[in-house]
Amino acid sequence: MVASDRSAIILRARGSLELRCLLDGTDGSHVQKAVSRAFERVRARVTSQALVFRVRDSPMFIWPNKGCQVTEGIAETTACKDLQQRLRSGEPDGGKRSSKKKDKRNGDTSVINIDLLMELTEPGREAGPTLTRREVRHHLAQMALPVDCVVTAGMDDGIGDAFSRLVGALCSQLTDMESAVLRHISGTSLLVPQPFHFHLPEPTGLVTLVYPTGVPDAQLESFRKEMHVRFALPEDRPYLRRANAYHFPGEPFKDGYLRNPHLALSHPALEDAKPFLVQGVYSYHHYMQDRMDDSGWGCAYRSLQTICSWFQQQGYTERVVPSHKEIQQALVDVGDKPSSFVGSRQWIGSIEVQAVLDQLLGITSRILFVSQGSELVNQGRELASHFQREGTPIMIGGGVLAHTILGVLWSETTGDIRFLILDPHYTGGEDLQLVTDKGWCGWKGMDFWDQRAYYNLCLPQRPRAI
């Protein structure tokens, strides 16, 4: 996570810039020229004196192209860390609610959010208004470009310097957008270019790529291949799919589910043991969510949803997490259940989870069978190896319960083992504090399992693809 680097701060500027293309002709070169000209105009606006940065949750406005004129309180040479300090302390400005919001946030304001505005009272022209008429028939293509760019600045860097770099980043993003639009043009139809940020392994850090809206990840594979080479990324796992986009700290998730609640836990003390954990991001699915009362029968469905959320958020599938009905329908479609199954409250097990993962997501899974719960103590190596190689959450069903295993703490020497469990039987709200305090996501020992029941584990395999 970026937060580990305490000496850096991210400035993120977002806004919407109008692009207006006047296409006098519809043949390729005409369109290309018109699009390039239109982008040129947008770049001119961004480098003009009318550009204004507004620092979110603050009364600060900055004119980066005017020698960094600012509203009172800060100057060009103010250090980034001082700016951050002012935001954290919440300046009094007419009693805005922002100061209360800061307490709720995870305290990590290593991102300074900026909105783009254009000044209307900065006259580029000096004469009174004139109407000009063009009688040429043409096509008009308009869109709002969703610019979103970041620069990383050192804590002691002056904000003047950081902001002018941000303007530079805006210009190069516009150029990237121009390429994306021209690459995917068809006739006079222009696709809206959308920026995505990816946090790549150090030393690369944050990288921004522009993808055309509406073109699925699958069709962008060759572009991703180029980027994988450029950034020296492994060729067997996705880093640059839309779902891999970096989630900035402090931004809420639109769907409201908790992400990776296990990160709020500390490992239990176990001699000579190493943790082997799920890699990447998953959402916590449990009883009663989505206004679905599945209390008493839906635990395996919820574990399956957690696993599906992992594959979606790592970019292996664009399919959204399936509902109970969709899961049941998938089982009917593969012939595993009769059609009356859909809408029922019947339990499913690991075999069904494996079947649904295959049917809906194209994911293969291994089934591990343990004849009695006490035997799980011997599965340390197997499970550790799974988390190292695949890194996917495991669904375990046995007795009358289903759970999700997110990792193990295992000692190769003593054979001691602890299990990191995500419990789908939780019926409360998305409260991280409650979930971790009460052990709905927590480390369990061997006593957690029914020693005499048999267990089936479904171990989903990660596809080797980008």
Binding site: G15, S16, L17, E18, L19, R20, C21, L22, D24, R37, R41, A50, V52, R54, P59, F61, T71, E72, D93, G94, D115, L116, L117, M118, E119, L120, T121, E122, P123, G124, R125, E126, A127, G128, P129, T130, L131, T132, R133, R134, E135, V136, R137, H138, H139, L140, A141, Q142, M143, A144, P146, T188, S189, L190, L191, V192, Q194, T213, G214
Partner: protein, 433 residues
């Protein structure tokens, strides 16, 4: 408890002078500024005479309501931000006093309706919706003041206080700014001749953007209910308007995946700088209301000018065809005698200070010497380019700047010719000599 009207002493003088005219019935409008608790009246202007030689109206039945309200509409174009037409006055002989109340009611509602028709913005819940109807009896000199709620035509008139005071607008701060315009209006393939309609649609979009824009007064965002005066010395006001770029998303809040495309038969671009101004009263004004006043002036000045431009095009060109490049009328300012306020007017390219002075006399019934008319606020572009220069960008292809003391075009460049009629919309209004 009714509203209170604080009226400039000069207005009292004007009304007294009117009462000495031998006529049974004189109508006119009242101009000033609203505030939450009371309104300020700074100017009264009688309705201009219809045709020279006609006898001044003898009875209320002779009163041409359309004429009175049209006068109100024309005058409202001459008011900078903060000022508006507050209502109507009638001076009648005693026997008409009762009927006068009904007439006042009709006039007030009709005027409000007409004035708000061309506007790009609407009154909000917070705006004052009461307009005044003042009746003065020519014999007893007694003034009866009532207000009508324009949001509720069925409501009954409420009595209001009418008090004279001198120096009403003396301490009113003024907000000034120049607003850059760069607008593009696509003309549809099928009706590329209907320029005015395309412009109207485009202006409505622009007005939405204007309304949601951020106003910084003295560097502070003025969207709060904080009192205006607290944010700094009012005479050091600097104003900046920042525009939030459009989102262009669908109703579901999801982004479009491709550009919105349409086939056009042509286009209009409007580029240049507007000079805008708003006067603010000094009694418990909120920062938000100050921003609103200047924003409304920005919207009004553009909508008034384009309206006038197309009206003029219709009268003079007949078929409404415009040349490839024409300037909108230029905004000029003139001080209101006895106050610190300025009113404005719009001057076409072939007009000069003389015409403006005549209009002020006719519309607002006061004399203004030509040299006091300030025509330097807006510059006029000396247009050199002609059409047909190939692909044009969104700004006029050639623009050279010149400060012209009058905006007379050099000979040879076609301009819309103005006939002897000064008032551009009502051909009925005669030229005052």
């Amino acid at each position: 408890m009714g509203r209170g009207y604080i009226v400039e002493a000069l207005v009292e003088q004007y009304l007294v002078n009117l009462q000495t005219v031998h006529a049974s019935c004189i109508s006119g409008i009242l101009i000033g500024q609203c505030s939450s608790q009371r309104d300020y009246v700074v100017l009264a202007a009688q309705t201009p005479q219809k045709d020279c030689g006609a006898v001044r109206g003898c009875s209320l039945g002779d009163l041409d309501a359309d004429w009175v309200t049209e006068h109100g509409r024309q005058v409202s174009r001459m008011l900078p931000g903060g000022l508006s037409v507050l209502g109507v006055f009638l001076i009648t002989s005693p026997d008409l006093s009762k009927e006068a109340q009904n007439t006042l009611r009709k006039l007030v509602y009709a005027m409000e309706k007409l004035i708000s028709m061309g506007r790009l913005w609407n009154l909000t819940e917070e705006d004052v919706s009461e307009r005044v109807g003042l009746h003065i009896c020519s014999k007893t000199k007694k003034a009866v003041c009532r207000t009508f709620d324009v949001r509720d035509p069925k409501s009954s008139a409420r009595p209001a206080d009418w008090k004279y005071q001198s120096g009403v607008s003396d301490s009113w701060p003024v907000l000034k700014c120049s607003v850059d315009l760069d607008l593009y209006f696509p003309l549809s393939e099928t009706s590329s001749e209907n320029l005015e309609n395309s412009v109207k649609i485009g202006l409505q979009k622009w007005a939405k953007q204007m309304e949601s824009s951020v106003c910084l007064i003295n560097g502070k965002h003025s969207d709060s209910d904080a009192e205006f005066m607290c944010i700094g010395f009012w005479w050091l006001l600097s104003l900046r308007c920042l525009c939030r770029p459009p989102q262009m998303s669908s109703a579901l809040g999801e982004q479009r995946s491709s550009a919105a495309a349409e086939a056009c038969g042509g286009s209009l671009t409007l580029a240049g700088v507007l000079q805008c101004r708003a006067y603010l009263h000094s009694h418990k004004l909120k920062a938000r209301q100050a921003a609103e006043a200047i924003k409304r002036d920005i919207m009004n000045t553009l909508s008034s000018r384009t309206e006038m431009f197309f009206e003029d095009l219709l009268i003079n060109e007949g078929d409404g065809k415009m040349a490839s490049q024409q300037p909108l009328p230029q905004r000029v300012f003139a001080p209101l005698p006895g106050t610190s306020l300025s009113l404005c007017d719009y001057m076409f390219p072939d007009e000069g200070a003389a015409e403006v002075g005549e209009r002020f006399k006719e519309m607002l019934d006061f004399d203004i010497p030509e040299e006091q008319i300030d025509m330097t606020q807006e510059r006029v572009a000396l247009l050199l380019c002609t059409s047909g220069l190939g692909f044009a960008t969104h700004s006029p292809c050639v623009e050279s700047l010149n400060i012209l003391p009058t905006s007379r075009f050099p000979p040879g460049i076609p301009v819309s010719s103005h006939s002897a009629k000064i008032c551009r919309t009502i051909s009925k209004l005669p030229v005052q000599l």
